[in-house]
């Protein structure tokens, strides 16, 4: 398991090197064959081109460095479950749409409460506390975004 984990990290770094290289090559091809308007001072492709070359060099350095160097465990391995990434982003989209169509106070209370429930440890679930925090958050958000820094929300169903 440990061996797999270390290998995964090594591939992660290699993966970033490959990604950087790919992006740089695609970018340089785009600079070469893309539809760029000529302009003074080297043209508007100059800085993007320099950035792609720097990315190319960095990508090569990462790849060569990782391939050449002996393995050294990295203490900064980060594990982010895919479900958290997808869930977080979907929650964000749902939250924004709900605020615009349902209303700030109700959306915040319901969605913040739901997220708290989903993230709370099962052996230490405190529904009463979650309800209180969610209601307070709904009230604070309503105050902040209708009174302090009002946002444009067209006729939400609730409030």
């Amino acid at each position: 398991m440990r061996r797999f984990s270390l290998a995964a990290w090594r591939y992660r770094e290699l993966g970033f090197g490959v990604l950087a290289l790919l992006l740089a090559v695609i970018g340089l091809l785009h600079v070469r064959y893309g539809n760029w308007r000529p302009g003074p001072g080297g043209g508007n492709w100059l800085v993007p081109m320099v950035a792609y070359w720097v990315l190319l060099a960095a990508g090569l350095s990462i790849l060569l460095g990782r391939l050449r160097a002996a393995w050294q465990p990295d203490t900064e391995r980060l594990h982010v479950p895919l479900v958290a990434v997808a869930g977080g982003l979907l929650w964000g989209v749902a939250f924004f749409l709900a605020v615009r169509h349902i209303g700030i106070a109700v959306s915040v209370t319901v969605l913040v409460g739901a997220a708290m429930l989903a993230l709370s440890p099962r052996d230490a679930l405190r529904p009463g506390l979650i309800a209180m925090v969610a209601l307070a958050a709904g009230a604070v958000f309503w105050l902040l975004f209708t009174r302090v820094a009002p946002i444009l929300v067209a006729n939400p169903i609730l409030f």
């Binding site: 970033f16 800085v47 990508g59 958000f141």
Partner: protein, 517 residues
Amino acid sequence: MMEFLAEAFALALSPEVMLFALIGIGVGVTVGAIPGLSGDMAIAILLPFVFVMEPAAALGLLVGIYKGSMFGGSISAITFGVPGTAGAAATVIDGYQAKLKGQPNRALHTALYSSIIGDTGSDLVLIFLALPLAAVALMFGPVEFFALYVVSLTLVAALTMGKVARGIAAAALGVMLAMIGRDPITGAQRLTFGLPELSGGIGLVPLLVGVFAVSEIIVQAGRAWMRRSGREMADITARAEALGYDVSKDRLDWPTFRATLKATLLGTGMGTFIGALPGAGASLAAFMSYGVAQRLSRKPQEFGKGSLEGVAAAEAGNSATSGSTFIPLFAFGIPGSATAALFGAALIMMGITPGPTMIKENMSLIYALFIMLIYANLFNFCISKLLLPVYSRLAMIRGEYVLPVVLGLAILGTFAASNSVKDVWVLLAAGLLGVGLRWFGVPLGPLVLGFIVGPGLEQSLRQALMLGRNDWTHLVQSPIAIGIYLGTLAILVGFWLLTRARPESADGAAGGGKGAT
């Protein structure tokens, strides 16, 4: 001049501004003390509210948050062995050991005093250096500014601890993201891929909030999700409850603190210098101060075993970056750190362009900011001294209650800043980008600095080339530019030598600290 000073004092000492500074300190210590949240995240989320606030009040709030979070990070580092912020990672090494030795109060007070001393020293350097440097910068042309931009990006990447190639790649990615939209010279669209929404470019606020805050929230939510089932509660709460905390156990007396003063002053000097360099950051300053203090200590063998000198050096080094990190921003308009970038964004939102003319054009506000920097330290000291026992409980606040609220605030705050739906999608995309880069172990600071510095870099390069009739050697013909390049080379060599000659124990300690982050 006296007129401006009087105006500045009136602005800075108005009850509203002082109240916001106090609130900021409270918020800053809270977010600093809770592992996973940081002052940068809080500043990023509050950026949209800068629009609706008086500039001085908004600056007071942001200064308070920044200062509070610098010390807040050390609370959980000492009390529970978990650094609240990256800058407090070096404080864990001796702070937590001191706590285990039964000296939590001494360690916390040492951290507080050295943090305030380091912070104040750094603020004074900023106040006395920013104006002369800005005056020098007024003589700079495109060639000199191009040299400064190149040097900042090089330093940002080169001083990213152990990740130079990844730092350079991140900086290049940031510059590329900044190129999306219209060419500043001809107005032609580029890199929009046919999407009219991208013709205006990517907004600074959604990118900053997305990369710093949203990605961190998703990572923390992932951790909460992984430990929600079973009894894997080896987190802060469980550890805090198991360890307990009794503030009356020990007291920090003057002779004990006096023994740490040398380390505090060393940390202040190191931190102030490192903080003024673009990209070096609080974490590097803290570890380097710790290493140098150990080397010059009479009791180096006690470092790593609960040495208060170690706590003092790390905390002073960490906090001493807080004032000097604004020097490149105020003097040259180049943000030297993520925090400076966030303050730069706040200033831009207030209609103030950071750069050499900024101080002259906004004399009273900038001097008011200087006054705020100083009295915020005093506020931080008084409040923290009084509330230290309460603060140590802040780290016990559970992430699952905070994260959804913070994410909601980030989304609606970004929307409130521009009422643009596009910005919300950019925010979420930037969050995804931030998570991806973190997963790959790529530092986020260089990406953001590349994004902010990119337009200035392009403008100065193309203006310089136009002036030199497309002759690239024109870029290295200015004595000032050559001096800037040589100075940077000297700094890089100096850092390389210092890092290379670091004692074994400090390296180990540093690694441990980083691992604990």
